[in-house]
């Protein structure tokens, strides 16, 4: 049963961000605005960096604006101009990534001007960009969303939005996997990781994968075999999941960009849940100075240690 999602907010948000971006650029407050422009396919959107006020009139916010723009502010993306303040449009899921980056000292809060985007939901990557937004076509991450109105932005258009209501797909799938025997889980993941072609799109799109030299690119010592064979693929994905534990913002971009449809966000959601249970940690809108795996308490659980 698919529920229709109210999409009337998009045009109001679009109008608000156009005027805000034009104001910022014309006044010289920022040197660039990172937002979405229409792309070639009907209804689709693409990330863009605009630098002049007349380009601001083309910015959009639509159900196709699923990309997490925070990735363009990381040090891994050297093409983005780093001069002056930069404005960025961000949905709630993107704001968690920004908060995480600020917490890890990758960004200064004063260097960015956040334009919050009240968001009713975005389309899943398997849906056609011009499809109607319903609880069936909406991205899985939107069904987990509690904050349609971003918190802590410098400018948030006052637009009412309602969250897409529906059962969480990730929770259902994680529960299904947890109910399996270890051998069944192993064959599930073996089948999934056998598909991997090591394109590293998941790494390139992730705001938290900004290491100058990725561990998988080191060959002295080589911890992860680079050929796209199941053994190396498993090592790659496990290591990426553990490196993201306690940092992942849940933007699900990794899953969206994977050309082989590997359910990568399942691993990240599972780890997020475990860290919430173990150390009461959640990716939030407030930058946290130390992540759960960067800090400790003397009374941490050690029931698994002899």
């Amino acid at each position: 049963m698919s529920n229709h999602i109210d999409t009337s907010a998009y045009s109001a948000v679009t109008a608000a961000i156009r005027s805000e971006a034009a104001r910022l650029l014309a006044g010289g407050e920022v040197s660039a605005v990172i937002g979405y422009l229409p792309a070639r396919r009907k209804g689709s959107a693409q990330p863009a960096i605009i630098t002049s006020a007349d380009q601001a009139a083309e910015l959009i916010f639509s159900p196709a604006c699923v990309n997490n723009l925070a990735v363009y502010l990381t040090k891994a993306k050297k093409e983005v101009p780093k001069s002056g303040r930069i404005a960025i449009t961000a949905k709630s899921c993107d704001m968690r990534a920004l908060a995480g980056l600020i917490g890890e000292s990758q960004l200064q809060r004063s260097d960015i001007h956040i334009i919050g985007l009240p968001c009713p939901g975005v389309l899943s990557s398997v849906a056609d960009p011009s499809a109607l937004l319903t609880t069936d076509t909406v991205a899985s991450k939107c069904l987990e969303c509690e904050f349609n109105l971003p918190q802590g932005a410098d400018f948030t258009p006052v637009v009412n939005v309602t969250a897409p209501r529906g059962p969480s797909r990730y929770a259902a799938e994680i529960a299904r996997l947890e109910a399996m025997t270890p051998a069944e889980r192993w064959s599930f993941w073996k089948a999934q990781f056998s598909k991997c072609i090591r394109c590293y799109a998941c790494r390139q799109v992730c705001p938290f994968c900004y290491c100058e030299q990725c561990m998988c690119d080191r060959n002295r010592p080589q911890m992860v075999e680079t050929t796209p064979r199941p053994a190396g693929n498993l090592a790659w994905h496990i290591i990426r999941a553990i490196h993201l534990s306690g940092r992942c913002a849940g933007c699900a971009e990794c899953e969206r960009v994977c050309p082989m449809d590997i359910p990568l966000n399942l691993l990240n959601r599972k780890m997020a849940r475990e860290l919430k249970e173990l150390y009461d940690y959640e990716a939030g809108f407030e930058p946290q100075e130390k992540g759960p795996l960067n800090s400790y308490l003397e009374k941490d659980d050690q029931s698994f240690i002899k």
């Binding site: 069944e184 064979r229 053994a231 498993l234 496990i238 941490d300 240690i305």
Partner: protein, 166 residues
Amino acid sequence: MHPEKAKHDFEPKIIAFVCTWCTYAGADLAGTSRMQYPANVRVLKFPCTGRIDPAFILKAFQQGADGVLISGCHPGDCHYISGNFHARRRFAAFRKLLEFIGVDLSRIQFSWVSAAEGGKWVEVVTDLTERVRSLGPMQEFRELALEEQWSGAINTPELQEIYDQI
């Protein structure tokens, strides 16, 4: 003087990642005290459990280990003050990840063994060795390493269907 060593069909390979200051010294004490324990364990010395990267556990299994032991100083006794606290959190998280992937957690053991606890070292190693012996060789990673990437052959009905559509 020494009890007859039992002959077994399967001798598991146990890799132990230990910290220099406590567990390695504890294992050394077990040795100088002439305590007998299974010789299946291969000890890798690290300055601290905080140095042990979860990737090492994966690598150990990939290289043929049947069981992995990680052992360090008791909380509060770390030579580097807080290394074992960080390791404790890191491995709590990593265990959950491995469990979710389908790795048998009974092949991995964590312990705190101090420099004076030669007896505990013997106990932990013997316990893990016998447990892994009863579980058998770890086939999962071995099979994974033997699997080839897709050979390019159209050998499933789905691939045939897609090929026909082109």
